[in-house]
């Protein structure tokens, strides 16, 4: 089995590596976009009087639709209706971002609503504007308190990214499946791929947890689910 391993996996390490870097790129862009969209949706939902219905609808849709379904929908329907995304890469990133933005919006909302009222009042009392309070008082605390949920969403993005192989984005899963289809030897390739994913996700979540725990202990901020 070991020479199989060498023949199949080690020899193709470069290809798999490139695939992994594509995965990394897709996940990074998707998560960044998700944070932006989620923050906007959350703020609109909380503070903008009429449009908040749209925000609520958006959030519910993003959370309720399976990622696979969203992926196919964005990839096949959006270009016809909206004119973008123009590439499968864009479709993959947008779909992943959509999914996570829903959860992140709810996470941010939970954080904002959980913030003691007095924190904002102290800002108001010294004459800070609402924007200043949001930027300097609310956002840092929400990010710190909700860090575990946010880190969890990061791992969800990485796990969901395996699906973008279906629309022919050359990520790690795509390359692995291509190898399997070329060599018809699934064991070593798929097991290795699975392990790569597991290890990557595990390491990232441990690292992120470590960093966020250190900050939270420094500020004495309570843990949140």
């Amino acid at each position: 089995m070991w020479d199989n391993f060498n023949r199949l996996v080690m020899a193709n390490l470069h290809t798999l590596g490139v695939g992994l870097s594509v995965t990394g790129y897709v996940c990074f862009c998707a998560f960044a976009l998700a944070v932006v969209l989620g923050a906007i949706a959350c703020l609109v939902r909380l503070y903008v009087p009429f449009v908040r219905i749209v925000a609520i609808g958006y959030i519910e849709f993003c959370r309720a639709t399976p990622i696979f379904v969203q992926l196919l929908w964005v990839n096949y329907v959006w270009p016809e209706v909206f004119g973008f995304p123009k590439s499968v890469l864009g479709a993959g990133i947008i779909a992943l971002a959509l999914q996570s933005s829903g959860y992140l919006a709810e996470t941010f909302r939970s954080g904002i609503e959980g913030l003691p009222r007095g924190q904002r009042e102290a800002g108001l009392a010294v004459g800070m504007s609402h924007i200043q309070i949001l930027r300097r008082i609310v956002t840092p605390q929400v990010l710190l308190v909700m860090a575990p949920s946010i880190v969890n969403q990061m791992t969800v993005v990485i796990k969901s990214s395996t699906l973008v192989s279906v629309i022919a984005i050359p990520d790690l899963m795509y390359e692995a499946l291509k190898l399997v289809n070329t060599w018809f030897e699934p064991i070593e390739i798929l097991t290795s791929t699975a392990l790569i994913y597991v290890l990557t996700i595990f390491l990232i979540s441990i690292l992120a947890k470590r960093v966020s725990d250190r900050f939270r202990n420094k500020f004495g901020l309570a843990a949140h689910a």
Binding site: E60, V69, W73, Y76, T155, L163, I187, A194, Y197, V198
Partner: protein
């Protein structure tokens, strides 16, 4: 753009094929039910094992939970379908193969048992120590305490979160089309090839899932609220 939008929201095509699509959805539901049962059983075993007094047992069960919480569902699904039969074949020296259904149920069940085991563990831990101590002080046996005090309360505390997990499990059944199970998405792809009109079909599928999940989530909310009012969870 607007007529394209109208076209994608024009669900008559979806309605036309409703028989086939519903049959596909039924596959999702069957796999969901079977997977949920498997996941629940495994979750209890692992969840309880994580609280076992032997360190090794705890280590292995925690390893199990961590492994499956960090494994992408799609990767695991493919692995169970392609690799596991080969491993069994070699071990048992006979040809083993899984039908896509079996592979789906196994993969999703095991995958989600990781998450659920955490819920089970949290539920058991959430039973206040004082309740257990009171029972011990009254002379109840370990087994009786487990059965009459811990399990009922633990299950109540687990319910809201585990229901959310089940919803996630149902969403994950959408993946099974990728190993050729003739579920909803599979049928949608087939019809698209036939009709060459992806807009209403994919949009319809998205809205259908969306509708089911939102309805389920609302139902769970209502139930959780009612349980909370009764002082259950």
């Amino acid at each position: 753009m607007w007529d394209r939008l109208r076209e994608s929201l024009d669900l008559t095509l979806f309605w036309e094929y409703r028989a086939i699509l519903l049959r596909g959805l039924l596959q999702n539901i069957y796999i969901f039910l079977a997977g949920a049962v498997l996941a629940t059983v495994l979750a209890f075993v692992i969840g309880v094992a994580r609280l076992n007094k032997h360190g090794t047992v705890r280590l292995f069960s925690t390893g199990y939970a961590e492994l499956f919480r960090n494994t992408p569902e799609y990767v695991f699904l493919v692995w169970v379908y392609f690799v596991l039969p080969v491993i069994f074949s070699r071990l048992l020296a006979t040809k083993v193969s899984f039908s896509p259904y079996v592979a789906s149920v196994l993969a999703l069940g095991i995958s989600y048992s990781g998450f659920l085991s955490e819920t089970v563990r949290a539920g058991i831990l959430a039973v206040p120590r004082t309740h257990i101590e009171a029972a011990m002080a009254l002379g109840m046996s370990r087994w009786m305490i487990m059965r009459r005090i811990i399990v009922p309360q633990a299950i109540r505390r687990m319910l809201p979160e585990s229901l959310n997990q089940y919803v996630s499990l149902f969403k994950a059944t959408s993946l099974v089309s990728l190993i050729a199970v003739e579920d909803l998405m599979y049928q949608v792809s087939m019809i698209t090839v036939h009709e060459m009109r992806p807009l209403p079909l994919y949009t319809g599928a998205a809205l259908l899932y969306c509708g089911i999940i939102i309805a389920a989530a609302q139902g769970i909310q209502l139930l959780s609220e009612r349980w909370r009012q009764r002082g259950w969870a």
